[in-house]
Subunit: 234 residues, 2 copies
């Protein structure tokens, strides 16, 4: 029944959020003379969220929101030195190699042997996501690589229609219930949720359960072929 498996990229195939987390730590250190850590974290999240409709997802948006937070929380006291550290951190983030999560390569190989067709559906910055795909050396395994501005149910519906995939032929794997799993369930596809140590607060949803919402949850990428076998027998 399932013919296509789509993967989220950041924190599903490779590490990502940990570099954002380092950015938060840097910002808290820069703003230490002005505000406690918790205030910095909460304000950054609030500014990032309110900037989302304008900036979208990705490292550049994060950097611009960091700068805005620094100015706001220091009451305009931060100067070029602090802003420059933020710019340098963006460069650091943009030059990280795509560090594959454990089990990704072997599991993709198993799935290809079972004749599944594979694609990636990711949010974020177009150029940066392309850079990471090239850098990951995973490109050859995927028939499609879709960078989208948001992951809503209509986003998935559009992609399925583009590739002539029926919802019940489609399974999405990702670390965000909000973006990877719930919208796919909503349009009639399958979702496998693999939580990651770091997940951005914006992506968190509460009050869901795999039982009530009809998705499957595993602890590691390696369990994917197993859970797919289980879905096939349902």
């Amino acid at each position: 029944m399932i013919r296509w498996i789509a993967f989220d990229a950041d924190d599903t195939l490779w590490e990502n959020e940990k570099y954002y987390h380092k950015g938060q730590v840097l910002l808290a250190a820069l703003l230490e003379p002005y505000q406690p850590n918790e205030v910095v974290e909460a304000t950054l999240l609030q500014i990032e969220t309110s900037n989302l409709p304008w900036y979208g997802y990705g490292i550049k948006s994060f950097g611009l929101s960091m700068i805005e937070t620094a100015i706001q929380l220091s009451n305009g006291e931060v100067g070029s030195k602090e802003i420059n550290s933020i710019l340098n951190h963006l460069r650091y983030m943009l030059s990280q190699p795509a560090e594959l999560l454990p089990g990704v390569l072997e599991t993709i190989d198993i799935l290809l042997q079972k004749d599944f067709r594979l694609m990636v559906i990711t949010k974020g910055d177009l150029l940066d996501q392309e850079r990471k795909l090239t850098n990951s050396k995973l490109q050859k395994y995927f028939e499609a690589y879709e960078v989208v501005s948001d992951k809503l149910d209509e986003t998935y519906a559009r992609i399925l229609s583009r590739y002539d995939i029926l919802p019940n032929e489609f399974l999405m794997v990702g670390n965000s219930l909000r973006s990877d799993i719930l919208p796919v369930i909503k349009i009639g596809g399958y979702g496998v949720y693999i939580p990651h140590t770091f997940t951005w607060e914006h992506e968190q949803v509460s009050g869901t359960s795999s039982h009530a919402d009809g998705y499957f949850q595993i602890e590691s990428f390696k369990e994917l072929p197993g859970v797919i076998e289980k879905i096939k027998t349902l």
Copy 2:
């Protein structure tokens, strides 16, 4: 012979560069105590160009490069006030309506009546380009809307292959010889160049001519149906 017509978006369908130009003027004013206008312009271009492989195209990249230029040229003397004006200008740019260039709507109508299939191929920020397309109300006329990280000959080859288009069935219309015209000619398609008053220096190429390089040049969007008739008789 020509079945598909693809359009660049910024400064081909709607105004764009003029808002970047306003940003340059703002930056020159902010840095007036430190450096003359010419130095600001040249340094911004140099910083934007060196950031392109990291940041890609678009408004957020422009903003980050403006901030970097401000810090560098003031020797770290600019502070939160100046950086804040830059952030505000980005918001201003991101909230501009898509202001159609003269003749766009009528000409698209004529081309559709002649049964051409239409698409848009644009660089820049994914979310911002989607916002402008929605805002322009042109969405319904295009069968495809491709936001790409760069416009190289392989980019066009990939898009043509995705839509099953032969190069000689494809005509690209745009205001950048470097990005819209020359790569399309190189893969065997047709190019119609419509210069715009403002074209970013990075997009300029010298030493080309429509005669030697095999593209067509018109002064206004309205001349497009006419030049296509001319191409058909070649």
